[in-house]
Amino acid sequence: MSSRLLRLAAPLFTLAMALGCSGGGSDAPAASDTILIGEYGSLTGKEATFGQSTDNGLKLALDEINAAGGLNGKKLEVRVYDDQGKTQEAGTAVTRLIQDDKVVAVIGEVASSLSIAGGRVAQQYGVPMISPSSTNAAVTKIGDMVSRVCFIDGFQGYVMAKFAHDDLHATKIAVLYDQASAYSKGLQDDFGREFTSMGGTVFPAQAYTGGDADYSAQLTSIRETAPDAIYVPGYYTDVGNIALQARKLGLTVPLLGGDGWDSEQLGKIAGDAIEGSYYSNHYSFQDTRPEVTTFVETYKQRYNAVPDGLAALGYDSMRVLFDAMKRAPSLSGKDLAAAIAATNGFPGVTGIITMDANRDASKPAVIVQMKGNQPTFVTTVYPKGQEPAAAAPVDPAAAPVDGAAPAAAPADPAAAPATPPPATPAAKP
């Protein structure tokens, strides 16, 4: 019997050795004239479209950086691993990037649970990681190695609450969220808290499970409360059916959403039903700032598509990283992480990026409205305390709104001082 166990172990040893050798074999991946950067994302699986957009934006930035000469003559190279939207795969991918490919930094994940899995590995091994678009507060709480170039759910909830309260003059809002998604759950909590503190009423939230086809039970319950608007902080994949069924049930009030709505597919799948609804996003491709117009132009040329928010964040995350690499005294994990955390006033496509004390990007969000199946820029909402003339360079961005914005963005901050704490939004207990 014992010999059986030993015999069982024998092939395992061989395998371990083989793995070790293969690992060792590819040990010298980057020649001295290139700098290797890692990326992990959901290139296949349920969230594939998100990973692909991010990847497109990132590659665009990479090629621009390399075309401009790279870092002190060294070219940058990105190695991508697919994690299929699974945390275990994400952890393995990041381990491989750091330990096997010896990348100097990792860029990754859209979904917060995957960023947390990968981020804890990066923290463990002391390699900086930038998440392009994970908005859950828990992500950067992992430690000093992890940062992000997007705002967090707490702020996004505040943005939509403020917009609904100040611009839409809504007083009663119903909420329908995806209970299987941490993102949706978090946003729902934050929105509810912010809107209630502004004096509005939020009805008890109704839940669905991502991928559900039928929402009639929840929407029927919502209809009974006769809300002014319905907040649906889910992914665009579900919003289509929700909007269609809401309209069928005679709910004509606007739907409100978050950045999970952002996809060119939204207009196609929801059609007329989504017309007039609003969502908060990282940027609007109709923005007239020069960074945005050039980015949108080159992206369109290369991929023949309008870049969505995730593409813009992928682009920004690469450029923020490169900017930090230029400033860092060395490319060691510590120096680079410190340089990323010190990012201040970086002119990104998604706004002026400044890292706050939690290494979360503090920057304004935009509200867009679906008009003619296209998201149309409505207004910009600034973080609490930064509203007035937040920074000179941001102002021209908000001013020339192609006539579409009904609400005067720079005017309403006057109402804001009612909620004084200028601190960063929503530290979760």
């Binding site: 019997m1 014992s2 010999s3 059986r4 166990l5 030993l6 015999r7 069982l8 172990a9 092939p11 395992l12 040893f13 395998l15 371990a16 050795m17 793995l19 070790g20 293969s22 690992g23 060792g24 290139l43 296949t44 691993y81 697919d82 699974k86 945390t87 275990q88 795969e89 994400a90 952890g91 393995t92 990041v94 381990t95 491989r96 750091i98 330990q99 096997d100 917060s112 649970s113 995957l114 947390i116 899995a117 990968g118 804890r120 590995v121 463990q124 091994y125 859950n136 828990a138 709480k141 209970q179 299987a180 998604s181 941490a182 949706s184 759950k185 978090g186 499970t209 979760k428 207990p429």
Partner: protein, 369 residues
């Protein structure tokens, strides 16, 4: 009188030699502790972190596959709710190490070194995981095992889904030491993170612990297979009615298989929960995960312990090698599964173990005698 002494003599002749006892009972146990040590101190450091991570994933999958094999392979029942037991175990263990860690040390970081206080807490957590998963296995198994095979499949799947949805309903994790100290255990039970998952668990899962549990699982399964109890398991698989007629309490045996299998799934859940680079979250412990384990068992051979081990290795390593052609990986798995069932319905090894098959058999023949 004479006959009796004759019996005694025969019994004495049959009694095992002390050396055999040593070889058959003690040595395997020793090996079960030595192998993990070799993995931990020998292989791990020499191959580096990424292959080590793959070895951890392999180990966890081996525990899952070998334990599911107790039900699906040995007993011939069909469970597709293994991920549900894994989730129960993972969350139980997480509660112990996370909130237990806060109660003891005021934080949730790993404490103590190799086999230190923290790892002892982890051991306790893993045992708690096994027990709670076993309890659920009993609860699910008792009524449903009286049902026919396909219904059982459906009930286990339904159980897995119910567990998943219930975990989604839980609330945020408490992260404040004073708050945790002031909260009673029953209300902490509900604070396991909901859809985001139970994040922030200490990283206790190391090559030693994973391969210790692998060794124990494999040891239990392979000893069981050749024991009287195991024969009872197999008899149900071969012909339930005949087994019943032979006086085997089929329902009891089935429940027993189910409980054992669930317990080891709970262990795998605990190991998964404390591994670097995973997050214990309900989205990932749905029926797809259960299917994955079923695939391992089927590929390896239903009833073959070593076959399951091999299949778990292949299924874990393959994606690492095939990352570039990922889209087609699942297509290939699916095709393999279908072709396997048509061309070799008993799985790669069937009931047999690796060493009972030709090239290895020749290799080990002298020893087998």
């Amino acid at each position: 009188m004479a006959r009796e002494s004759g019996l005694k003599a025969r019994a004495a002749a049959l009694a095992p030699e002390p050396m055999t006892v040593l070889k058959q009972s003690v040595l395997p146990l020793v090996a079960a502790f030595v192998i993990p040590l070799i993995f931990h101190f020998g292989i791990g450091p020499s191959v580096g972190a990424y292959p080590s991570k793959v070895l951890l994933d392999i180990g966890i999958n081996v525990v899952l596959a070998v334990s599911l094999n107790l039900v699906n392979g040995f007993t011939g029942q069909f469970s597709i709710g293994h991920a549900g037991f894994m989730a129960v175990g993972g969350y139980t263990a997480g509660l112990v190490t996370y909130y237990g860690g806060y109660r003891i040390w005021g934080d949730s970081l790993p404490h103590g070194g190799f086999l230190g206080a923290g790892e002892m807490l982890f051991l306790v957590a893993t045992i708690a995981a096994a027990l709670s998963a076993a309890a659920f296995g009993y609860l699910v198994g008792l009524p449903s095992l009286r049902l026919r095979g396909d219904y059982l499949a459906l009930v286990t799947l339904g159980f897995g889904e119910i567990v998943r949805v219930m975990i989604q309903q839980t609330s945020d994790i408490a992260t404040d030491a004073t708050e945790i100290a002031a909260t009673s255990w029953p209300s902490l039970l509900w604070k396991v993170g909901g859809a985001l998952g139970f994040t922030g668990l200490p990283f206790y899962t190391s090559l030693f612990w994973v391969w210790l549990w692998v060794s124990l699982t494999v040891l239990v399964a392979s000893r069981l297979k050749t024991s009287t109890h195991g024969r009872a398991f197999l008899s149900i698989r071969e012909d339930e009615i005949a087994a019943e007629a032979m006086g085997i309490p089929t329902t009891t045996i089935k429940v027993r298989a189910f409980v054992m299998s669930a317990a080891f799934a709970g262990v795998a859940g605990s190991l998964f929960a404390h591994e670097v680079g995973t997050t214990l979250n309900p989205g990932e412990l749905g029926f797809q995960k259960s299917f994955e384990v079923v695939i391992m068992v089927v590929l390896g051979g239903m009833g073959s312990v070593s076959g399951c081990v091999l299949a778990a290795i292949v299924v874990t390593v393959l994606p690492e090698l095939l990352r570039s052609v990922d889209e087609y990986r699942m297509v290939a798995y699916a095709l393999t599964l279908i072709l396997m069932m048509i061309l070799r319905p008993q799985g790669l090894f069937g009931l047999r173990e690796i060493w009972e098959i030709w090239p290895f058999k020749a290799l080990f023949r002298s020893e087998a005698k």
